[in-house]
């Protein structure tokens, strides 16, 4: 088929494509073909319309199209000393909706991917319980289950940006977030099975990886909405997400969502592990650290246009992005095209779940002018996503974690997009 025909701008009813693309055909050019016989095929019929393709035995577990091979998680070699204690990033600029497919959920490991044999998997509960217990995976699957969609964000997401615009692409500035449907057991039921002693106040949750990753979780949170999950988006957890069992700590920093969960110790005070003292705390200007910064504050980012997703057409365009809050739902997202002088409401589309990613869209006309794009999310508590400067005024610039500041993309006249800051 050809697209060399001249577009007929301004003649459409809705006019989405009035400035470019969406080629209109002279009515006479189309024969009213009613059957699919070869004599009625449009011109330049491609091979895929002529020959049989692969059969149903070709891909027992399906894979993306080879034309999508650029849509992958990417790591940044200079960011960490080793690939085993490192991170890669979700390609947010290529995704849509609110679900992250399992193969593209970012990874953050402290000792690489623990490849756990599920038949040898055990979860131990000890400490201030009536009856210390060890569970097999089958044991866990005999508790009542629940299904919930939650975002997971690494506390260090956007961490490089504390010191100004650094990384070029929302995959790298904001790609330590994903959102999937978990199936698992409310942690409350597991703890009740072991029986909590009256002085129980805290949990120490520990992973089976070689880092023995561990964090303290207050009991109130554990009894509220934490889960031990064995499925993500319907299938078994992926190895890099904690197969066969991970902790789900809705709305709280990803580091607490212990993967390959092997032990829960119940205690009466926090453990102050490495991961909540020398790491995953925010060092303020006065030399003190913020303590227990668990909840991920409301945040948003425009995923397209963005440095990896430039503007391709003048005329009608769609701006898209995601927003989330560790404290509830996202009630509103505003968008500016001029660096914050004028804000207009974006359209939130799709399901709105507590502590889950929300998708927003904003339609705009572009004629090649320079743009400064920003999004600003407001959650169900009324909290408004701050600017990066507002955050710095309170927290200084020593921080690595919890940067939920407003992101700015500069769209150049040629449609290219770069990471910038505006004051």
């Amino acid at each position: 088929m050809s697209t060399s025909r001249k577009p007929q701008g301004g003649t459409t009813r809705r006019g989405f494509l009035s400035a470019a693309g969406g080629a209109a055909l002279a009515a006479g050019a189309i024969r009213p073909a009613v059957s699919a016989g070869p004599e009625n095929l449009p011109p330049n019929v491609p091979g895929w319309s002529r020959y049989l393709g692969s059969g149903v035995d070709a891909y027992p577990y399906g894979q993306p199209s080879s034309f999508e091979s650029h849509v992958v998680r990417r790591n940044v070699a200079w960011l960490t000393a080793s690939v085993e204690s490192s991170v890669n990033f979700t390609p947010l600029h290529e995704l849509d909706g609110i679900i992250t497919p399992n193969g593209l959920c970012f990874e953050r490991h402290h000792a690489g991917i623990a490849e756990v044999d599920p038949s040898d998997y055990r979860l131990m509960i000890n400490g201030l319980v009536d009856k210390p217990m060890i569970f097999t995976l089958d044991d866990i699957k005999r508790f009542p289950r629940t299904n919930k969609i939650f975002f997971l964000e690494c506390a260090a997401n956007s961490g490089m940006e504390w010191r100004g615009a650094q990384l070029n692409g929302c995959q790298f500035t904001h790609g330590m977030v994903h959102c999937v449907m978990y199936t698992g057991v409310p942690l409350k039921l597991i703890l009740e099975e072991a029986g909590l002693k009256t002085n129980a106040k805290w949990l120490m949750v520990e992973g089976a990886d070689a880092a023995g990753m561990n964090r303290s979780v207050p009991l109130d949170k554990a009894l509220d909405d934490c889960m031990v999950a064995f499925k993500m988006n319907g299938e078994a957890l992926r190895p890099e997400q904690g197969y066969p069992l991970r902790l789900v700590v809705p709305g709280w920093e990803g580091n607490m969502w212990i993967k390959w969960l092997r032990r829960i110790e119940v205690g009466d005070q926090p453990w102050h592990t490495r991961e909540e003292t020398s790491k995953y705390t925010d060092l303020l200007e006065n030399g003190k650290s913020r303590r227990f910064t668990w909840a991920m504050d409301c945040k948003s980012v425009i995923t397209s246009p963005s440095p990896q997703a430039p503007l391709l057409h003048k005329g009608h365009n769609i701006l898209s992005g995601i927003a989330w809050s560790g404290r509830g739902t996202v009630d509103r997202v505003d968008v500016t095209l001029d660096g914050g002088r004028n804000w207009r409401p974006a359209r939130i589309d799709g399901p709105s779940f507590d502590k889950a990613v929300h998708r927003f869209y904003f339609e705009f006309d572009w004629q090649g002018e320079s743009l400064l794009l920003q999004s600003r999310a407001i959650d169900s508590t009324g909290y408004v996503q701050p600017t990066k400067d507002e955050l710095r005024a309170v927290r200084g610039t020593n921080s690595i974690y919890h940067n939920n500041g407003i992101q700015t993309w500069h769209v150049r006249g040629n449609g290219e997009v770069e990471n910038v800051e505006v004051s």
Copy 2:
């Protein structure tokens, strides 16, 4: 770690694991380890807790655990003459929640998988429109988008079961259904862009595969909730699901959800294509066929226990299954353990979306007795899923399509499960 310790039945608060599993430990056996140093590790520490695993550069696009290699789509060689015009089945017995991961969505092709180059992709609109048009994929992505979760069921799902219990496993009896989140453009907007003539009443939708798959869709449905989708579960459509663009016809038989959509012709009457005359119609006992049986009626199936997911433990067990309706939400699912003498309500868990899969659970105690398991769904229109005999009384047994009858699984004393019928 060891699980050879004797379970202490009857001492738990909730008692989920009272009959087997969930080994309780003598309290003295556990040292109150507070750090993750080697001296505090539990006994028999496995390799994944001792050595570094793969790094973040290992799997740019992630894959399931090697321990899950049995969780795949499966075809049945004798069912069709070729693998290019055939089907494979979603492993429902291994899944949970309401989302089907993209790699496990069943496939039904009529000429194999069309491997379409997205840069050469075109969608043509012709017929009773003001302005015939050809769209590129980029053109489509400039229309306003929406995100919706829908089930897709092949009309032939459970088709073998018209003549009694045939296939052993819900993967094979019910695995021609999946449920994903689609991102796409309301078809209404595309049609409005071309401009519908006043006598427009029907669409002929046509695929770019070598089968030139085509179906007639009434305009009212097209304008109501149909979409042209380019994403599933956040990422690009998979090749076998119509990459780069498929039609979404919520609640209606999968055959109408044209994959690799290349053309939409607008007309004033149905086309009566092969796929809605000699195929995808139900031949009744009187020699006449049911005409235009588009909507998939309310249906459910117990996915575990099922022939591929036997009962492993006496005592507390979880029954799980899925239910869906092409006419709305599922409001209620009842479950029987005794072939229909006693029905009890199952618990529907997770989001309830219009024309989407719903997940249900039922907890029961099993002491090795023979069971006849059934589920019965009721949708938001009040329609009650019928028995297979009730369907046969109305439609006879010539049919292949639209078997939404109640499925029975016989659980034997050893926990094995088989496909049976009860009258």
